[in-house]
């Protein structure tokens, strides 16, 4: 571990910290429908969207407020239709434009198209396929890029809807889904993506619609270089914490992430909105200290992950040392475990990226997590299992952390025998029940699916998988193979999308079960949370009294961190001990 490595980590954090307040204020204004500096430009487009799309307006011309059930219905209708459309696009790609490599629909089997469609609709962006051999530019743009925007916008909207539940009192409504979706896309995601795409392009990220280029190398071999409209997708892939690569190697690919500077921008984009949303939250509940408390808890959890991953990746493994490879960093080489890492990023940036992408529900990778050391690789896996609440996905991080906050005040309420309150709202049976449902469903999905895939046998000539155990689809033996399966269902349920990519998941069994895990992870978490939002909005604000447990101080921050870690550790420790932990002991 080098001083320069720490400096880069500090620089990254300083950038995030500097943008949290200004962007947080901006997002709060946008989502409350107030005027911002972009209103003169985008206001007409916003109103055009409502008119064209038949969004119902109230007497003042604002989108009509919705109850939580209506908001949920809108979310489900939108997700359902857009998923079907993406499925259809993939299955018809040969008849659609922008397809210079003439990829046919035979590249995309029905189960793969289902998996990919669900994956991008749920902001997971798990990829069972090699994009540069599979999908036309049209599907990448009009299908995947669109979902990169909209799944993130939906997440942002839902987080804000939950915050409205805390901020409002004695009302039945939590906002309008269509307005949230439209405003998040037009004012936040689109302008930032335009800027980010052009900056990335200046660094060498490609942006064209050409066919692949054939070159003759210096040693006289033909090399086919993949092309495509990458920068436009790359920007929103990171900003929307989506993470689905234009290429198989994702953000490790030099055309997606060519320089250390582009790498910093991409990591910055992952945390940008999630960090800002903590401030948005504080502003909307009229107590910014509440937002900073969440920010502080997230920072501690983030830092713990970075330090662990950086330490173990730099330390390397006995296997590498035995081959005579340098483990110490020096001025001319990075040392450490460089298997599956890029020269330009080295150890520090690979460890930082892996931590950030799984703290958030991004899932882009600039190094192959499958080749991480056991405990270095435990960090991304455990981050996802904690619920991706460390800054987290766009929207998803905030609503996930608020769910933990509800549990934290509930637990502290039990300790002192008082009805817990959070932000002036009484946390009662319904809220705790819903938070528990969301939490249990996620854990059940991860553990049951991973368990089933570890033992399920398949017959010869069957449809679902190659004959034999599903566990044979792993490309690493022993404990690491189990880690690959566990990581897959953790990533799918957590809507992350990163992978221990040695697992061959492009079979009907894995495509379908991982697709189901993504749907469970997205919607069976969102619906209980929207129910909480509705229930909270209807409650009256309780005035602060001497008995109120303050939720903006270090005590609460510590309690919140404790709840996050204890819930995650209790749920997943047995599975983790059979995977990465036992592998570490076998080094």
């Amino acid at each position: 571990m080098t001083a320069n490595g720490w400096l880069q980590i500090a620089l990254f954090f300083a950038l995030i910290l500097a943008c949290t307040k200004p962007l947080g204020v901006f997002i709060a204004s946008v989502m409350e429908g107030k005027r911002t500096f972009l209103s003169p430009l985008l206001g007409p487009l916003e109103r055009l969207t409502y008119r064209v799309c038949g969004v119902r307006l109230d007497a003042e011309g604002q989108p009509e407020e919705q109850t939580w059930t209506r908001y949920s219905a809108a979310l489900l209708a939108f997700s359902g239709f857009s998923a079907v459309l993406l499925y259809a696009m993939q299955r018809m790609q040969a008849w659609l434009p922008f397809n210079p490599q003439a990829f046919s629909q035979n590249n995309v089997s029905p189960d793969l198209a289902f998996n990919t469609s669900v994956s991008f609709t749920t902001n997971t962006n798990w990829q069972s396929y090699v994009p540069e051999q599979t999908l036309s530019y049209f599907v990448q743009m009009a299908g995947l890029t669109v979902h990169n925007f909209l799944s993130a916008a939906a997440g942002l909207g839902i987080a804000v809807a939950l915050v409205r539940g805390f901020a409002r009192q004695s009302v039945k409504t939590i906002g309008n889904f269509w307005a949230d979706l439209t405003r998040a896309t037009l004012y936040v995601l689109l302008p930032a993506s335009v800027i980010a795409a052009l900056v990335l392009c200046s660094q060498g990220v490609i942006q064209n619609l050409s066919a692949y280029t054939t070159v003759t190398t210096l040693e006289g071999v033909k090399q086919v270089i993949a092309q495509g409209p990458v920068a436009s997708q790359e920007a929103i892939k990171m900003l929307g914490t989506n993470g689905g690569g234009f290429f198989n190697a994702n953000s490790a690919h030099p055309f997606e992430n060519p320089t250390p500077f582009s790498n910093l921008i991409e990591m910055f984009l992952i945390f940008l909105i999630p960090a800002a949303l903590t401030y948005t939250f504080g502003k909307m509940v009229r107590d910014t200290r509440q937002g900073w408390a969440l920010f502080a808890a997230m920072t501690v959890l983030w830092l713990g992950g970075v330090v662990t991953a950086y330490y173990f990746e730099q330390k390397g493994t006995p296997m590498l040392a035995k081959a005579g490879i340098a483990m110490q960093a020096d001025a001319a080489q990075s040392g450490g475990n460089m298997e599956g890492k890029e020269t330009r990023f080295g150890i520090a940036n690979s460890a930082l990226f892996a931590t950030a992408t799984t703290d958030a529900s991004c899932g882009a990778v600039n190094a192959m997590h499958d080749s991480f050391t056991p405990l270095g690789g435990l960090v991304p896996l455990f981050n996802i299992q904690l619920g991706e609440v460390v800054f987290g996905g766009v929207g998803a991080g905030l609503y996930g952390m608020l769910m933990f906050a509800i549990l934290a005040v509930f637990i502290s309420g039990l300790m002192v025998g008082r009805t817990p309150e959070y932000l002036g709202k009484k946390i009662e049976q319904k809220e705790v029940k819903m938070a528990m449902i969301a939490m249990l469903v996620l854990a059940a999905s991860v553990l049951l699916f991973a368990g089933a895939s570890s033992v399920a046998p398949f017959v010869k000539g069957g449809y679902w998988n190659a004959p034999g155990p599903a566990a044979a689809n792993t490309n690493n033996p022993g404990a690491h193979g189990l880690s690959e399966i566990l990581y897959a269902y953790t990533s799918a349920t957590g809507n992350n999308g990163s992978a221990l990519a040695g697992l061959n998941a492009n079979t009907p069994w894995y495509n379908v079960t991982l697709g189901l895990a993504m749907l469970i992870g997205r919607f069976l978490m969102l619906l209980p949370l929207l129910a909480v939002a509705g229930s909270l909005a209807a409650k009256r604000q309780v005035p602060v009294s001497a008995g109120t447990f303050p939720t903006h101080g270090p005590l609460f921050v510590g309690l919140l961190i404790g709840v996050v870690i204890i819930v995650g550790a209790l749920t997943y420790f047995p599975a983790l001990s059979l995977g990465p932990i036992v592998e570490h002991l076998m080094l």
Binding site: L11, T49, A74, F78, V130, E132, Q133, F149, L150, T182, C201, G204, I206, L209, Y212, T213, T216, L218, E219, Q223, I225, P229, N248, A249, A252, H253, F255, T259, P260, T317, M319, L320, A323, I325, A326, A331, A332, Q333, G336, M338, E339, G340, K341, E342, T343, F345, G346, N349, S350, M368, D370, S371, P374, G377, N476, P477, G478, A479, A501, M586
Partner: protein
């Protein structure tokens, strides 16, 4: 839910046009004139013909060229239509075998080098297309390249130094040497005499 279906369909269509067609085409339209070289893959022309991309590694096996890192992209490595890493785990015997074999080969190729093997030299990259190697890796190969080109080691090392990129802004990333650019510089300055 049915009453929300109409806006669901229309808004999906509307944003597909805006963010799926208009946005990427607008970025393409802006990037092509502004960053023409980068947007089209940072191709390097030799005698007017594309000889590769500055950003995409290619195989070099001859002794007079610097060698890139081992690659797991495609069957023979450095296949830009099949990017990816080895995905071999840290306890996998297959990785151990490969590392031992490649380390022995590296020592055999570079008999004058006797230090610890630079970490990037025998490990595969994440993309399989890593265009760069560490300065330590390049210097370890300098003696071999010099011999194959009948040049002095100092001449080769000064080309390595000239082609070493430091950290971005002095801080970001790692120092690195672009293999294709270095090998092109070698062919220009110290051509192999046949």
């Amino acid at each position: 839910m049915l009453s929300e279906l109409k806006p669901a369909i229309l808004i999906t269509m509307f944003f597909t046009l805006l963010t799926g067609i208009f946005y990427p085409l607008a970025i393409t339209g802006a990037a092509q004139p502004l960053f023409h070289r980068q947007a089209n893959g940072s191709l390097i022309l030799v005698n007017g013909e594309p000889a590769g991309s500055e950003l995409i590694g290619q195989n070099f096996a001859k002794p007079e060229y610097f060698h890139p890192r081992p690659s797991a992209a495609g069957m023979n490595g450095y296949d830009p239509t099949a990017s990816g890493g080895s995905n071999l785990g840290p306890t996998n015997p297959a990785l151990s075998d490969r590392l031992t074999k490649d380390a022995a080969q590296f020592r055999k190729d570079n008999p004058d080098f006797d230090g610890p093997i630079p970490a990037d030299a025998v490990t595969t990259s994440a993309s399989g297309l890593d265009p760069e190697i560490s300065p330590a890796n390049a210097l370890a190969q300098a003696a071999r390249v010099a011999k194959a080109r009948n040049a002095s080691r100092a001449e080769v090392e000064s080309l390595v130094a000239a082609n070493t990129a430091s950290r971005d802004f002095g801080v970001l990333g790692e120092p690195r040497v672009n293999v294709l650019k270095l090998n092109l510089a070698l062919d220009r300055s110290l051509p192999v005499k046949r």
